[in-house]
């Protein structure tokens, strides 16, 4: 796994892209241009980008209701993503899925999921498929601290463990499941220890340190590709925005949010890059501008795209009827 300047700058740029994308999504949601509801991952870019920076295009990922970051980090097209959020025909899912169901099978994204933990049995199936097809792909599931309390997570982990499947279980512990503090719903205080039950390596990582995430992921990926089985990573992080856009957030204090704002993964990484002299203020500004330009293009694409015809709803259900 290389960590040369260019790679690191690439990672930084991706993190900025996620942040800016989410910010834009929040704005256009507030403006009523994005229907339904959306869940933003602002503050969690260290995890999404750190993990995906270790993956190949043909590796699989299942993501969650809070999945924009995973999509972008895995290489999704911003135009088609934005268009999907806007419910447009040019979106990834032709407007059928929306934020909670974006998928891009061409880059291995098997889908976001509106069912919490819904992706986990699926990723084990993808891992089994890899093993049966004898490729060296890996399959990665992102899920939350809340999701970790659902039974399917355990069935999926146990099956991946006994069959030594090339799977990464990446738990993004952002401290809350909707209104519920992680410490309320998990008496052990840690989630990574749940892996031990299946004799699976589990590790707790500072999810706001993109390089720590990258390092842990890289060894898990290496183990997986070597046929040594699954790994559990608990990326400890924080969502800086509400659970969904519009969340009254009575369950936490602004002080708490402020503490975590100080640990912003992008600023943290930016400072590190600056210390290494990889990133100047000017360069950082250039990156932001370039990202912004890309996003403006995506936004224009989405806004200028047509809505689906009503009758399009009848297509795409069965492959063959």
């Amino acid at each position: 796994m290389s960590s040369d300047k260019q790679t690191l700058l690439e990672i930084y740029r991706t993190m900025v892209t996620v942040r800016r994308f989410e910010t834009m999504a929040g704005e256009y949601f507030a403006a009523g241009q994005i229907p339904g509801f959306i869940h933003l991952s602002i503050g969690q870019e260290g995890s999404s980008v750190g993990v995906c920076s270790c993956l190949r295009k043909d590796d699989y990922v299942v993501t969650t209701h809070r999945g924009h970051g995973h999509m972008i980090a895995k290489g999704a097209d911003l135009k088609r993503m934005t268009a999907e959020l806007f419910g447009k025909k040019t979106g990834y899912c032709k407007g059928k899925g929306g934020s909670m169901h974006i998928a891009d099978f061409s880059i291995g994204i098997l889908g976001a999921n509106g069912v919490v933990a819904g992706g986990l049995p699926i990723i084990t199936g993808a891992g089994l498929s890899i093993k049966l097809r004898k490729t060296d792909q890996v399959a990665v599931a992102f899920f939350g601290d809340g999701a970790a309390n659902r039974g399917p997570v355990h069935e999926a982990m146990n099956m991946a463990a006994i069959w030594k499947l090339p799977v990464l279980f990446v738990c993004e512990n952002n401290q809350y499941a909707s209104t519920t503090p992680m410490h309320y719903a998990c008496s052990a205080g840690d989630l990574y220890t749940r892996a031990a039950a299946y004799d699976m390596p589990g590790e707790k990582i500072n999810g706001n340190d993109v390089l720590a995430v990258r390092e842990a992921t890289a060894s898990a990926v290496a183990r997986a590709r070597a046929g040594e089985g699954p790994t559990f990573l608990e990326n400890v992080t924080y969502r800086l925005k509400g659970h969904y856009e519009g969340d009254p957030q009575k369950y936490r204090t602004t002080e708490e949010i402020e503490i975590w704002r100080q640990k912003d993964p992008i600023e943290h990484f930016g400072r590190m890059l600056a210390q290494k002299k990889y990133l100047t203020k000017k360069h950082a500004a250039q990156i932001r501008e370039a990202v912004q330009a890309e996003l403006s293009e995506a936004l224009a694409f989405a806004q200028n795209s047509p809505f689906p015809e009503p009758g399009d709803a009848m297509a795409d259900l069965y492959s063959n009827p």
Binding site: G95, G146, K250, P310, A313
Partner: protein
């Protein structure tokens, strides 16, 4: 009876306040209830009024449903909040293999007073996994009762009956109706399960409906009046037990029936009702029983497609005209 205007949410909350005050064995279990009084504000004031009796659960629908069963069998009256009815898929075993069957399998040894409360329905641009109407699955499961109210007064009266029923009751409230307002009596009342309500009398066609579809029928009925078609609206309110008497009385008068629900058409509750009507009232029918429901696809995200998939007033009109012009 004196009345005031309440929303469906407020009607539910009021009923819960009244009954929880009355009986200590009622408690509420579900996800994310305490901090915000429920995702739809449906439990407003309950956390403050009844601390410890409204309990936040981890994200564990299977466990939640099973807890309801265990608590119901041991002296409590659990009120299980299922968050979104779509996640009933995660509790199907506990609901259909356990709750529905345990009393029967034990030879009637035990009661299971348990309400499974589920926000359902589409129209919020929430896409395929947050928009379903799944009541037909439970109608096909002996041992459960199924209630789907439309108006605030029904919500209040029926939830009380559900709470006091000694059997597991699936109680579906449409998400788009939480803010719907309507008159609710001041006085104490309970609406017995298994009683449909003729909400508008008419002579030409019976519009048989429940839940959100009631409002489609209401709108359709006023348009039909312009065509000189006098529609009767029967709000079924409970699907199991089913008030076939009221349905039959209406059809004996109108000789024509249109069933309207939001669930997708194929295999929906309308199928059962149409099958019964044509069997039991064959000679009364001047036209086939028509069904109106969502198209047979998952609910799509984008507004124009979602609206297209859902049953509309136009669909009701078309069906009503088809049977009356016949």
């Amino acid at each position: 009876m004196s009345e005031r205007i309440l929303t469906c949410s407020a009607a539910l909350a009021e009923a819960l306040h009244e009954e929880m005050r009355r009986d200590e064995s009622i408690f509420i279990l579900g996800e994310d209830l305490v901090a915000h009084g429920g995702v739809f504000g449906q439990f407003k004031g309950i956390p403050e009024a009844f601390p410890g009796r409204i309990i936040d659960s981890p994200i564990s629908e299977t466990g939640i449903a099973g807890c309801g069963v265990g608590a119901a069998m041991t002296g409590m009256r659990p009120f299980i909040d299922f968050h979104f009815s779509d996640f009933l898929t995660c509790g199907m075993d506990e609901l259909c293999n356990q709750a529905a069957k345990i009393r029967y399998m034990s030879g009637g040894q035990v009661k299971l007073p348990m309400v499974v409360w589920c926000p359902d329905g589409a129209g919020l641009r929430a896409a395929a996994q947050h928009s379903q109407s799944l009541e037909a699955w439970f109608v096909h499961t002996p041992g459960l009762k199924v209630v789907v109210p439309s108006e605030p007064a029904d919500v209040k009266g029926l939830i009380k009956a559900a709470i006091w029923d000694d059997n597991p009751v699936m109680f579906f409230q449409h998400k788009k109706l939480f803010a719907k307002e309507g008159p609710v009596p001041e006085e104490e009342y309970v609406i017995e399960l298994g009683r449909a309500a003729v909400k508008k009398e008419g002579r030409d066609v019976s519009l048989l409906c429940y839940g959100a579809a009631y409002y489609l029928c209401l709108e359709a009925a006023s348009t039909l009046r312009e065509d000189a078609i006098d529609a009767e609206i029967v709000d079924l309110r409970t699907l199991k037990p089913l008030d076939m008497d009221t349905v039959a009385r209406s059809i004996r008068k109108t000789h024509r029936a249109v069933i309207v629900h939001e669930a997708c058409l194929t295999g929906g509750f309308g199928a059962e009702l149409a099958a019964r009507i044509q069997d039991e009232l064959f000679d009364e029918l001047d036209a086939p029983v028509k069904r109106v429901g969502a198209k047979d696809v998952p609910i799509p995200f984008s507004p124009s497609m979602e609206d297209f998939v859902l049953p509309s007033v136009a669909d009701v009109l078309e069906a009503a005209r088809a049977v009356t012009y016949r």
